[in-house]
Symmetry: C2
Subunit: 334 residues, 2 copies
C-alpha cells in the first residue's frame, strides 16, 4: 500500500482525464471528486474505481463531453437529461442546481435521467451540507440485489444519501439497500472473517454470515430484509417517475454496461424559514444526545453517520492517500 | 374476535369523539382515519389504539380543539405549529397543504412541530397517492430504540413513508426504523413463535429470534443494524431542524406522555413536468418487473410495499372489521 499525497493523486487522475478528452476544468473537478472519495476512506468508490470509469469511457457508456441539459422546470422542480455524461460531474451539477432552487423556493429538486454511476453518493450530501443545506439524493442501479422473497437480482441496491449541516462536522448518511456490498463481502472473505451479522443466503437457502457462501449464491440481503427491499423499489419508482428515465429493470446487469440510470437530488433550505443559527444547532444537540447514550462496549461511543469521515480525511490528508501499489501503477501507465 | 361493519365502527368512534368535545366534522374525519387503519389491516394503529388516544385527551397531551397554524412560508416550504392537536388530523391537514404547494411549485413541504402521534403513517402516503402525487413523510418519536452500539433507547423508531401513485393500486412503503415493533414481538411471543429473523439482543448481548428475550432486554434491532440506526438519526435531525420542533431526545419516553413531536410532509407532483399518464405507467412497469422475479417459494410472488393492503381492505369492507371483543366493549362503554 502506497501513501500518495492528495494533490499528486488528483493531478495524476486529471492528467489521464485530459488525455481522454476532458476539458482542463472538468478534468480537475472529476479528478478531485475521485480523490476526495479515497481521502474520505470510501476506497471502493474512489481511485480504486477509476480504471472502470476509464473503461466505460472506452466502451461508449460515458461521454466525456456531455453536460446535463435542462428539459423542463416547474417552480422548485426540474427535470434534466444527463446525456450519458460522467456520473460524478452530472451529479455534482444536479445537486448544485437543486441547491440553487432551494434558495429560491425553500426546496429544490432535480430529477436526472440518462446519467452514469455517481461513484460515492455521499459526495453530493457533503456538497449540500457544506453550503448549509439539507441534501437528500438517491440513485437507481442495475439489478444487483434479490428482493425479499425472490432469488434473482431484480432490484437495485439504490444508495440513499441524507445530509444535515452541523457546525463541527456534517452528518452524512450514505447507505445502499444491500446490507453488505459485494466489495465488503470480498474484503471479509479475504481477511478470513465472518460477517458481524447475517449478510445473505447460502446454497441451502439459510441465512449466513459466511461471505464466500453469499458470493456464490449471489443472494445478499436487503437492509432490514423486507423493509429495505421495499425501500429499494420505491426509490427506483420515484427516480424513474420524476425523471422519466430508466428504472432498474431496464438497466443492463453488467457493471461495465450500467448506464442511463436515474437519480434524484433534493435540497432543503433550513434558513429560509428560521434563524440559521437556531436551525444549525439542532443537529448538534441530537449528536450530543447520541453520544450520551450508554455504549455496548465501555469507551466506544455510539456514532452518528459520517462521524469517522473527518478523522480519516485528516489522517489521509496528512499521511497521503493509501492506494494499492498495483492500482497506482495501472493509473500511472494510463 | 367480532366482525363489525365499517360504518358502525366509524360512527361509534365519532360518537365518542363528539362527547369528548370534537366538532361533528372533525369527529367524523378522525374516526374515519382510525377506522380505515383497522380496515387496511394495520390493527395496532387503528381501533386498538383508540383507548390510548382518548386517555391522552384526558391527560392533556392532545387538545381536541387545536388546529395547526402556519408559522411561515417560503415558496414550496412551510413551517406549521401543531399546537398539540389530534395527531391524525394535524397530519392529514399538513399533507394536504404539502400537496397544494406541490401543485403550485412542483414540490411542497410542510414541517410540523408540536404535534401528536399520527397513528398509521401510511395514511398520509395513501392520501398523496390517491391524488396522483408522490408523498413522502416521516415523524420522530420518543426514544424507544437503542442505536447501533448502544444499549439504551436513545433514538426513535421514526417511521418513514414513501408513496407512489399507481393505476391498479398505489405503492405505499410504511416502515419504522425498528425491525420489529414491540407490538410485533408480543404477537410472536403470544403465538409461541420465533421471529423469522434476528430481532434484537438477549440478556447475554447475543442476537436472538426469541421475542420474549428481546422484550426483556428492551433491545430490539434497528432495521439493517447500523444503517437503520443512522437513518433514524438523520430523519429526526431533518424533522426537528426544518420544523424547529423537538427532537427525539427531548421527548418523554412514555407512550401516554409522548407529545410535541416533529413531522415532515413532502409532496412531489410528477405531472408538473411530464405527461401524467407516462409518469403513472412507470410504477406499474416496475411492479410488473418485481412480479416477474423468480420467487423463493414457487407460487409465492415477490410483493411490492402495500400490495396486501387492497386485498385486506376489500375483505374487511365485505366481512366487517375484525375487532377484539374486549376492545370493542371498552369503546362502547366510553
Amino acid at each position: 500500500m502506497n501513501r500518495i499525497p492528495f494533490d499528486e493523486v488528483m493531478q495524476t487522475l486529471a492528467g489521464v482525464l485530459c488525455k481522454l478528452g476532458f476539458s482542463a476544468e472538468r478534468a480537475q473537478t472529476c479528478a478531485r471528486l475521485f480523490t476526495e472519495t479515497t481521502c474520505d476512506g470510501v476506497y471502493s468508490h474512489g481511485v480504486n474505481r477509476f480504471a472502470r470509469f476509464v473503461a466505460m469511457i472506452g466502451n461508449g457508456c460515458i461521454d466525456v463531453h456531455a453536460e446535463p441539459r435542462r428539459l423542463g422546470g416547474f417552480g422548485a422542480l426540474e427535470r434534466w437529461d444527463g446525456l450519458k455524461g460522467p456520473g460524478n460531474l452530472n451529479a455534482q451539477t444536479s445537486m448544485a442546481r437543486a441547491m440553487e432552487l432551494s434558495r429560491e423556493h425553500g426546496l429544490g429538486c432535480v430529477a436526472l435521467a440518462n446519467t452514469n454511476h455517481w461513484m460515492r453518493g455521499g459526495t453530493y450530501g457533503w456538497q449540500a451540507a457544506e453550503a448549509g443545506l439539507i441534501g437528500v439524493c438517491w440513485t437507481n442501479t442495475m439489478p444487483n440485489l434479490p428482493p425479499w422473497g425472490g432469488v434473482e437480482p431484480c432490484i437495485g441496491n439504490n444508495p440513499l444519501i441524507i445530509a444535515v449541516p452541523r457546525p463541527g462536522g456534517h452528518v452524512v448518511l450514505d447507505m445502499a439497500m444491500s446490507q453488505f456490498s459485494y466489495g465488503a463481502l470480498e474484503s471479509y472473505r479475504m481477511r478470513g472473517e465472518l460477517l458481524p451479522v447475517d449478510g445473505g443466503f447460502d446454497a441451502d437457502g439459510n441465512l449466513t454470515r459466511d461471505p464466500g457462501a453469499i458470493e456464490q449464491t449471489q443472494r445478499p440481503l436487503p437492509v432490514g430484509y423486507w423493509k429495505g427491499s421495499g425501500l429499494s423499489m420505491v426509490l427506483d419508482m420515484v427516480a424513474a417517475t420524476m425523471s422519466l428515465g430508466n428504472a432498474t429493470h431496464q438497466l443492463v446487469a453488467d457493471p461495465l454496461l450500467e448506464t442511463r440510470i436515474s437519480q434524484m437530488f433534493l435540497a432543503m433550505n433550513p434558513a429560509a424559514l428560521a434563524d440559521g443559527a437556531q436551525a444549525a444547532a439542532i443537529a448538534g444537540e441530537i449528536v450530543a444526545s447520541v453520544h450520551r447514550c450508554r455504549p455496548e462496549e465501555a469507551g466506544r461511543e455510539v456514532r452518528y453517520p459520517g462521524e469517522k469521515t473527518l478523522q480519516i480525511r485528516a489522517e489521509n490528508r496528512k499521511l497521503g492517500l493509501p492506494i494499492d501499489a498495483a492500482i497506482w501503477a495501472q493509473i500511472l501507465a494510463m
